[in-house]
């Protein structure tokens, strides 16, 4: 059993196979850093294929779930390697993500979550119909880098502005990068409300957010 085979199982969403390989790898003297890097790279490739719609959302989801299963099995090895200083998680950033209050749409937000996780971001998903203050409270609680707010309706877009206004009023504006997206939103709207980043589609979100964090 090899890391390459595990990556292939993740790519094809073969959960049982991935679990078997991961268990087998536990008994081998593998480099956990290399394993994690290769799995992350595999998920990034899958994310890129999904962004081009060479595969569809269910396929991407299967791969992500398979990756999670494999990583859970390798968890004890990861902990062991972390304590020995052989492995350090390279999280790209922490994101508090949700669809704004009054908006029940979530497919775009869920795809952004998948793409971010595939690219090594840590995501706290607040779901949909999320109160503006809750975004802020959760960002404070987890020490987020980003507050990412999605809106699918023109009449719920004002809640994206509300988050920024509340951050300003609570003297927290500079603490978080506020990212907005969703079908009716635009760069013009992002500029108007003072958001740090506008993501035109789910596929580009991870790259744009990583670039923004590097410019910090």
């Amino acid at each position: 059993m090899s890391i390459a085979k595990l990556c292939h199982a993740v790519e094809t969403g073969s959960k049982k196979e991935a679990e078997d390989i991961a268990r087998d790898l536990l008994n081998q003297n593998i480099n956990i850093q290399e394993t994690a890097d290769q799995l992350t790279s595999t998920m990034q490739k899958i994310g890129d294929r999904f962004a081009r719609l060479e595969i569809f959302l269910p396929g991407m989801m299967e791969s992500a779930q398979t990756m999670t299963l494999a990583m859970n099995i390798l968890g004890s090895k990861i902990l062991e390697s972390t304590s020995k200083g052989e492995y350090a998680s390279k999280k790209a950033g922490k994101v508090v993500l949700g669809t704004v209050k009054g908006d029940l749409h979530e497919i775009g937000k869920n795809i952004v979550k998948l793409m971010l996780e595939a690219n090594n971001f840590e995501v706290k998903d607040l779901g949909y119909d999320v109160d503006s203050m809750q975004f802020i409270k959760e960002a404070e609680a987890v020490g987020a880098d980003f507050i990412a707010a999605s809106s699918l309706m023109t009449t719920t877009m004002p809640h994206q502005k509300e988050i920024i206004d509340l951050l300003k009023d609570r003297d927290l504006r500079d603490k978080y990068k506020v990212v907005i997206g969703g079908a009716p939103t635009s760069q013009e709207w992002a500029d108007r409300i003072g958001a740090d980043l506008y993501c035109p589609d789910a596929g580009s979100s991870s790259k744009l957010m990583a670039a923004l964090l590097q410019r910090k």
């Binding site: 962004a51 009054g102 979530e106 497919i107 795809i111 309706m153 023109t154 009449t155 809640h159 009716p184």
Partner: protein
């Protein structure tokens, strides 16, 4: 309301249906069931034939859609339970449903009838800009659309502001905006001499409170008009949506079932979208009590439906429903390009051509992916409706439609991702008179002549 006899029995299933964690509904129930059914019925997309003429395929898509709806049901996110409908209830609802309805009032009333594949009856033409617009342009845009000769019904653009204040869903601002929306609409209809015209209103209302606030025979949305009741992607609902089902049934207005299955999303590819369209139609009939469906399947990345991977499911699902039911269903178009570009006219024509020949009624058209404020005009919708009337009148076959669709696709498809945004309403229409500028009209006329040369026999 087509199924009032079971209103409360169906609603009660929100409380008593099988429970399910919301996180698992799509990934563990909807998506695997759809994939299994697509495979079972051997439904295969062929990009070379955006308009197939395969009756057996159409019938398999019908069976697949029925099975999907029956197996999956509709998930209520507020109660975490699934509303399920039995085989007999679906059969009963399909039997009871009428194949025609009078909509609108007085001299403006129109008989809206079920269409068949390659039907010579023209489609019911509902003009709908769908996008948002500036408050100061809303009335002019209503006038401009209501001046359209082929208009059988109208759904106005959506307000973002009302009396200068940003609308927030579920708030007092939304109720105020909904009132403004319907007043503009009713006044514009009266001024152009179509006071009884069939209206689908009000699009400004995202929340049920906004919809309910404007139900009024004298100044608001009448019982001869219609409301749309949507579904959350895919096959999910919430009490705020089901509230509308009950309100519309008890108020007595017509209900339209609004759905937008996403290509690339939980439906997967074109095959899944086709099957989902049929399943959604049954959902609309049985759970929303809809007399018609408005389907706008769209591309996950492009947010449009004029490329072949969306035209194919539109064609196939239309054939499936025409051959196996007497339902009424509208095809909602979304173009990539914006107003006053040649591309938007080609896209609109192609969407209308494919939809009409495959039995749909028309709901045209959201320009520039329906995403940009004020980027919509009646002229791109006009060309779509004129194509619809033309191809119906000449009795165009699916094979002929496929040939013309391929020629149109060869003109615009490669530019889908980089389509021009075009211009805003006030740049191509005179806001005071609500008429197109000469430059805009000339572009429309030029493309109409080109379409005519391709074999579309316009009636005038």
């Amino acid at each position: 309301m087509s199924t009032p006899y079971r209103l409360w029995e169906i609603q009660e299933r929100s409380n008593t249906g099988p429970q399910c964690d919301e996180d698992e509904f799509l990934s563990k129930i909807f998506s695997p069931t759809l994939q299994k059914i697509v495979k079972k019925y051997e439904i295969k997309y062929n990009p070379k034939t955006p308009v197939p003429a395969d009756d057996d395929l159409a019938d398999r898509v019908w069976k697949a859609g029925w099975e999907l709806f029956q197996e999956v049901g509709l998930y209520n996110t507020d109660t975490h339970r699934i509303i399920k409908v039995s085989d007999d209830e679906i059969k009963e609802a399909l039997y009871v449903a009428k194949d025609q309805y009078w909509v609108g009032a007085g001299k403006d009333a129109v008989l809206w009838k079920h269409r068949k594949i390659e039907d010579r009856e023209p489609p019911f033409c509902l003009f709908s800009p769908d996008c948002t617009c500036s408050e100061e342009l809303h009335y002019s845009m209503c006038l401009a659309y209501l001046k359209e000769p082929l208009l059988d019904g109208f759904c106005a653009p959506i307000l973002e502001d009302s009396i200068g204040l940003k609308i927030r869903s579920g708030s007092p601002f939304e109720i105020n905006a909904c009132t403004q929306h319907i007043y503009n609409l009713r006044l514009a209809a009266k001024q152009v001499g179509r006071p009884g015209v069939f209206l689908v209103a009000v699009g400004t209302a995202e929340h049920d409170s906004g919809q309910i606030a404007v139900s009024n025979e004298n100044w608001g949305v009448r019982t001869t008009d219609s409301r749309l009741i949507g579904t959350l992607t895919e096959f999910k609902t919430a009490d705020t949506l089901l509230n509308r089902v009950v309100h519309c049934a008890q108020y007595g207005c017509y209900v339209g079932n609004l759905t937008g299955p996403i290509y690339g999303g939980w439906c997967g590819g074109s095959e899944g979208v086709a099957v989902t369209l049929v399943a959604y139609s049954l959902n609309g009939l049985c759970i929303h009590g809809a007399i018609y469906n408005l389907h706008f399947p769209f591309h996950l990345n492009l947010a449009s439906n004029t490329t072949r991977e969306l035209l194919w499911p539109i064609a196939v699902a239309g054939q499936a429903m025409a051959r196996n039911s007497k339902l009424l269903y509208k095809s909602g178009g979304y173009t990539n390009a914006g107003p006053m570009t040649e591309m938007v006219f080609y896209e609109a024509a192609c969407h209308a051509l494919v939809s009409t020949v495959n039995s749909w009624h028309l709901w045209e058209i959201g320009a520039a992916r329906n995403k940009h404020r004020n980027r919509t005009t009646p002229l791109e919708a006009r060309i779509a409706m004129e194509v619809g009337h033309a191809v119906a009148g000449q009795g165009m076959t699916r094979e002929e439609a496929n040939d013309i669709a391929l020629r149109l696709l060869s003109i615009y498809e490669e530019q889908a991702a980089t389509a021009p945004l075009g211009k805003e309403y006030q740049e191509c229409y005179d806001v005071a008179t609500a008429l197109p500028t000469q430059e805009h009209f000339d572009m429309y006329r030029k493309i109409k002549d080109e379409l005519s040369n391709m074999g579309i026999e316009f009636l005038y």
